[in-house]
C-alpha cells in the first residue's frame, strides 16, 4: 500500500483526473473531498461490504418453503373475486 502524508487542504491526484482533498481533520475523523469523472464509482467500503454480506446471506437462507412464499405475496389486482 502506498502511504502518503497530507495536511489539511492538501490533495492527492490519481490518474490526473481524480482529486482527493483533505477537507477537515477533527480528532479521529477526516473529511475527504473527492472530485472524479462521472464514470468513477465512489463508495464507502463498509457500505459495499454490507451489500456483499447481505447478498451472500440472502442466497444461503434459501431453505424456506417456496409454497409458503407463494401464499405470502400475490399481486393485489389479480386476486380472484
Amino acid at each position: 500500500m502506498l502511504i502518503l502524508t497530507r495536511k489539511k487542504d492538501e490533495k492527492i491526484l490519481i490518474n490526473e483526473d481524480i482529486k482527493v482533498t483533505v477537507v477537515e481533520i477533527k480528532g479521529n475523523k477526516i473529511k475527504l473531498g473527492i472530485e472524479a469523472p462521472d464514470e468513477v464509482e465512489i463508495l464507502r467500503e463498509e457500505v459495499y461490504k454490507s451489500v456483499e454480506q447481505e447478498n451472500i446471506e440472502a442466497t444461503k437462507e434459501s431453505k424456506v418453503q417456496l409454497n409458503q412464499l407463494k401464499k405470502f405475496g400475490k399481486k393485489p389486482d389479480t386476486d380472484e373475486e
Binding site: 462521472d38 459495499y48 454480506q53 447478498n55 437462507e61 434459501s62 417456496l66 400475490k74
Partner: protein, 148 residues
C-alpha cells in the same frame, strides 16, 4: 436452452431473456448471467436464477409492491453501462433475505437491481446514502397487505 435451477428443477429458458450483469454482483463477481423466473403466476416474488450456477438464485421483489416513493438517482456510469435511454427501459428488483420465519424477511433497499429489460443488462446499484437500509423489515401492516 435448458438450465438447471435451484427452485424449479430443469427449466427451458429463452436465450434472449438472459440478463447480463457485466460487473457481476457484490459477493458474486463471477456471476454475470441470470434469468428472471416468476415464483408463480401473479406472485410478487421473482427468482433471479444464475444461468451457470444452478445453486445460486436470489428471491427478489419489485419495490413498488412494498414501499411507495422508492426513489434514487441512476448515475451516468450506470446509464452508460446498462445502455439506458429512458425510464421505460428499467425494471427494479430488490433482493429478499428470508430467515426461518417468513414474517422476519428483510428486503435490501440499499442495493436495488437495476435492469434494462430492453437490452437485457443489469447492475446491482449501491445507494451510498442512509435513506434506505440493507435490511428493510416489513411492518405488520405491510405484511398483512401482502398476505391478503
Amino acid at each position: 436452452m435448458e438450465i438447471m435451477t435451484r427452485d424449479f428443477g430443469k427449466v427451458d429458458i429463452d436465450e434472449d431473456k438472459i440478463i447480463e450483469f457485466p460487473e457481476g454482483l457484490p459477493g458474486f463477481k463471477q456471476e454475470k448471467e441470470f434469468v428472471l423466473l416468476p415464483l408463480e403466476k401473479d406472485s410478487l416474488f421473482v427468482i433471479m436464477q444464475s444461468v451457470n450456477n444452478p445453486d445460486l438464485a436470489f428471491i427478489t421483489i419489485e419495490p413498488k409492491s412494498i414501499i411507495k416513493d422508492y426513489e434514487f438517482e441512476i448515475s451516468e456510469k450506470t446509464e452508460t453501462l446498462l445502455e439506458i435511454s429512458g425510464i421505460e427501459d428499467i425494471i427494479l428488483l430488490n433482493i429478499v433475505n428470508i430467515k426461518e420465519k417468513l414474517k422476519d424477511m428483510t428486503i435490501n433497499l440499499a442495493a436495488p437491481l437495476v435492469i434494462n429489460i430492453n437490452a437485457n443488462l443489469g447492475k446491482q446499484v449501491i445507494l451510498d446514502d442512509t435513506k434506505y437500509p440493507v435490511k428493510y423489515k416489513l411492518d405488520k401492516t405491510e405484511s398483512k397487505e401482502m398476505m391478503s
